[in-house]
Amino acid sequence: MTLWIILTINSIALGGLLFLLSAGFSLIFGLMRIPNLTHGALFMLGAYFGVTFLRLEFNFWVAALLSALVLGVIGGLIERLLLRRLAGQELAQVLVTLGLAFIIADLCLLIWTGDPIPLATPESLRGVLRAGDVVFPKYRLAVVAIGVIVAAVMWFMLERTRLGALIRAGVDDPEIARVMGIRVSRLFTAVFSFGAALAGFAGVLSGPILSVYPGLDAEMLPLALIIVILGGAGSLPGALLGSFLIGFIYNFGQAMFPEIAYVILFLPMVIVLVVRPQGLFGRQSL
């Protein structure tokens, strides 16, 4: 019984992390139609920056925010300097982001070496909350809470604010939006930068749970992909649902069928593709 509860809590916590990872990916993919294959690498890079900031004795949350900031700048530069020139050329975008992912991963290996680095759980969130016989690790609960808050804020921003309306207008019809005086390119840089920052933030947050190691990028990218295919590109509710679904399948699969857990992970994607290729919440096909 306890095992089930632990698995459930771990699944929810992983779901929160995966949402932070995939929300940016889904926005960039769904809104800007850019298949950003560097997303896993940005996640890992964020985690490694977190390692460095923590070694400089920053507070955990400060380190996470700083890391997000750095990643946001890097993401903005990638969009501005490389992807901007390749607007509408999907194959070229795939190649450039894939190339960048290899470069980032190899540089991480060079700088932070190949040994896995665990991040310490922040002081205030060590230990557990007790409710009767059940114990909840505080840190994992915090991660879930952050995931849900970010989801709510993002949804509000996109659907209820002027900025969100501008972004949606820029996506639906960039030319008309430009004619109306909206600076579409600047908006796109902002969205991409925000997605990268979110990935970096998620990377640091994942540190105490997953620890940081080479290959983390290649492990996270397919997860983000599955979640977006499951939930539908550009849909925040889809990304949220997909993240928790994958969180559960990942943890329960590992516990029950360790050998084929990785295959089970992809099954929902296969089913969705066959039954509903645009994803659960998607408006348009991929």
């Binding site: 194959l91 070229a92 795939v94 190649l95 290899f102 470069i103 290649a218 295919i229």
Partner: protein, 319 residues
């Protein structure tokens, strides 16, 4: 043409070092694989980032069957049949979409196959891989000798090249190009676009399987590394670097990548870094492939030297 062929065929005679002959064999194996991917990228306009999965399925199946006690010949045929089956599933899933969706789904399928090779230890021996006890002995010819193995791969490569040439000129090749450029018009003309693409995936999968067989015969070893995203990306780089949709482009691309990889790994450990830089550089400077790209760069260079302001429009990549 004839000179090139003679040079290729007599290569073992004037390259006395086994080291270079082995590199030549590797280039040919990867060239066959790149030709297979080129069917999709060049003719069908479908970019697969999971093709190393199909390549790996053939390698694993052949090695596994031989280790299980099968003869080389039945193992090879059975491995190709398994690869065809895998390609069929691959096609059924990936063809739910086109464009970016296709790339994403093939990437995910490639990762599934990698996951099976890496994690399903009972079946695949996990990270330790499977060792193939010996190279096959077709008609009593010993493929253990590097020069002989090279000729064996050369024959396979030339047969594949001939098949590709036939395919290029066949009505099937023409209709596949049609589905790439004008899928709607092809549908209106009564062609079954989905079926044509599906058959192209099967064809590409079969040729990838042949390359995978040669690969496992060459290394006598297969590990999950072969199926990784880096492998799929490398073969895609070969196709694009050489120029998509050309017959000899894949050979040029394979030679470039294999030689660079061999040279780079002799001096530095950072092959993935180099690979990444090449990707970015090719997209930025030579979006249409190495051969047409070099020509274009050269013309621009000359224009600059004639001190005329070059106002030629930058050609973009067709996607």
């Amino acid at each position: 043409m004839l000179i090139g062929l003679t040079a290729l065929a007599t290569l073992p005679l004037w390259l006395d070092s086994n080291y270079y002959i082995n590199i030549a064999s590797q280039i040919l194996i990867w060239a066959i694989f790149a030709l297979a991917l080129n069917v999709l990228v060049g003719w069908a306009g479908l970019v697969s980032l999971g093709h190393a999965g199909l390549f790996g399925v053939a390698s694993y199946a052949a090695a596994w069957l031989v280790v299980a006690g099968w003869g080389h010949l039945p193992a090879a045929f059975c491995a190709l049949a398994i690869t065809l089956g895998a390609a069929a599933v691959f096609g059924l899933l990936a063809l739910r979409t086109a464009g970016i969706g296709f790339i994403m789904i093939t990437l995910a399928i490639g990762q599934i196959l990698w996951g099976i090779a890496y994690r399903w230890i009972d079946l695949t021996n996990g990270d330790n891989g499977i060792i193939l006890p010996a190279r096959p002995l077709p008609f009593g010819i010993d493929l253990g000798v590097p020069g002989v193995f090279y000729l064996f791969t050369l024959v396979a490569f030339l047969l594949t090249l001939a098949a590709m040439r036939g395919f290029d000129r066949s009505p099937f090749g023409a209709s596949l190009r049609g589905t790439r450029d004008q899928p709607r018009r092809m549908t209106a003309l009564g062609y079954h676009v989905w079926l044509i693409r599906f058959l192209a995936i099967l064809y590409s999968g079969l040729v990838s399987g042949i390359a995978g067989l040669l690969f496992v015969y060459y290394h006598q070893f297969v590990s999950p590394h072969v199926l990784g995203l880096a492998s799929s990306a490398e073969v895609l780089l070969m196709v694009i670097a050489g120029g998509t949709g050309t017959l000899l482009g894949p050979l040029v691309g394979a030679a470039l990548v294999v030689i660079m990889k061999t040279v780079a790994s002799a001096y530095i450990e950072r092959w993935n870094l180099v690979l990444g830089v090449i990707f970015v550089a090719i997209v930025i400077f030579m979006p249409d492939g190495l051969v047409p790209g070099s020509v274009r760069l050269w013309q621009r260079f000359r224009l600059v030297f004639r001190s005329k302001p070059s106002s030629a429009p930058r050609p973009g990549v067709d996607t």
